[in-house]
């Protein structure tokens, strides 16, 4: 009732706020297409993104399952992992390359997937922009830090 009086339309209880001349607001869908919707831009970014997801996915199945098998199952399992184990593995350029490729592919694959989800679900332009900025910052930071560690790893560190 208080709402009725504040809006100053319904004087009596149970009288509808809305009538033929004053209809209720309809619920518009998010980001609906209009005549002013920007026309197509040239560029293949979305296509390359889509292709990258498929190709990196295939490679990641091998890399990640192999990684998990070596780290957690074979030769004593998880208990063998320690500083010495990692140092020993990274002495070989093969494992360095394996971990580097896995780091880059997994991070970019995950980041692109999250970018897709943000584009799909964040309705407001501002929210979408800042979520994506946060995502890109986190991705760049993790990728650079991981790369730095793999290349400058020193087994004799104190």
């Amino acid at each position: 009732m208080s709402e009725t009086t504040t809006k100053g339309i319904g004087e009596v209880e149970n009288v509808s706020l809305y009538d033929v001349d004053n209809p209720a607001p309809v619920i518009e869908p998010p980001r609906k297409r209009t005549k002013k919707t920007p026309k197509a831009t040239r560029g293949n970014f979305e296509m390359y993104g889509w292709l990258f997801m498929r190709l990196s996915g295939i490679v990641l199945v091998v890399l990640v399952l192999g990684h998990l098998l070596i780290q957690l199952v074979l030769d004593g399992g998880v208990s063998k992992i320690g500083f010495a184990f990692v140092a020993g593995r990274w002495a070989s350029p093969f494992w360095q390359a394996w971990d580097l490729i896995m780091l880059w592919l997994a991070m970019l694959h995950g980041a692109n997937g999250l970018r897709t989800i943000i584009n799909d679900y964040a309705e407001r332009d501002n929210t979408r922009f800042w979520l994506k900025m946060l995502l890109y910052t986190a991705t760049v930071f993790t990728v650079l830090l991981g790369t730095l560690v793999i290349f400058t790893f020193d087994p004799n560190i104190r």
């Binding site: 026309k39 979305e46 584009n119």
Partner: protein, 252 residues
């Protein structure tokens, strides 16, 4: 041979074909309230009739204010797509007996578009996406004085997507479209496919460029909701995948 006639008369006297069905309809009237509410109608109806017949019965006998679209009522005009028991279908192609009449039959407007009243939605964004893919024949040069001939194989290439009746059942079943109306949606892509793969058309490249955009085919998540929803049995997701493949093979 009098027995069959007798049988028939007996059966007619004892068993009525009518059953009582509850229609649970999502009502919204902006001239009365800002809230959409569920309203139940119990009607006597032959289970071999369609959901549209039930809606007619309600509108004509019980509540004249019930609002929905329908034109031909025979699955061709595509006006009466609605969400029946949680699935997008044409009310005029859905038989009561096929959707478990023992339980209430829920009828809602299709999702992702503005509801104007009861089951009527604003189709303008849907048709805008349709217009944006240029769904018409584009050719260069002089117009021929006779028909533009085409081999049966060339016609077969896009036969599936010519069946679209623009009912919006596919587009309004797409979860990407629910959250972002900027996405072209399955129906627009199907109608672009119809011209992209037409051997007589010369603007396939332009249409592919339009669908290569941020809101084009790459937003498809292959959930197959559109293929399930299509009342014409078009393999919508397959058509979208064919456009994707055309885009990739065009580049490499």
């Amino acid at each position: 041979m009098a027995t069959p006639v007798l049988d028939k008369a007996e059966a007619g006297a004892t068993a009525s074909p009518y059953i009582t069905v509850t229609f649970r309809i999502r009502r919204f009237n902006p001239e009365l309230s800002e809230d959409a509410v569920w309203e139940d109608f119990r009607i006597e109806i032959d289970p071999k009739e369609r959901v549209l017949d039930g809606l007619h019965k309600i509108k004509w006998d019980l509540d004249g204010s019930l609002t929905f679209r329908r034109s031909c009522a025979h699955g061709i005009c595509g006006s009466d797509a609605m969400r029946i028991n949680g699935k997008n279908r044409l009310a005029c192609k859905t038989l009561i007996k096929d959707i478990n009449p023992e339980k209430p039959i829920t009828v809602e407007p299709i999702k992702g578009l503005t509801v104007l009243k009861d089951l009527v939605v604003d189709m303008e964004p849907f048709f805008q996406a349709y217009r944006d893919v240029m769904p018409f024949l584009i050719t260069s040069g002089n117009e021929p004085t006779r028909e533009r001939l085409q081999s049966p194989e060339d016609r077969e290439r896009f036969d599936d997507t010519t069946k679209c009746i623009l009912c919006a059942a596919c587009t309004s079943s797409c979860p990407v479209f629910w959250n972002d109306g900027q996405y072209f949606g399955p129906a627009a892509i199907v109608n672009a496919h119809r011209f992209i793969f037409d051997s007589r058309d010369e603007a396939g490249e332009q249409r592919l460029e339009i669908l290569n955009d941020r809101d084009g085919v790459w937003r498809c998540r292959t959930t197959f909701n559109c293929t399930d929803a299509c009342p014409r049995g078009i393999e919508v997701t397959k058509a979208i995948q064919e456009v994707k493949r055309a885009l990739i093979t065009r580049r490499f």
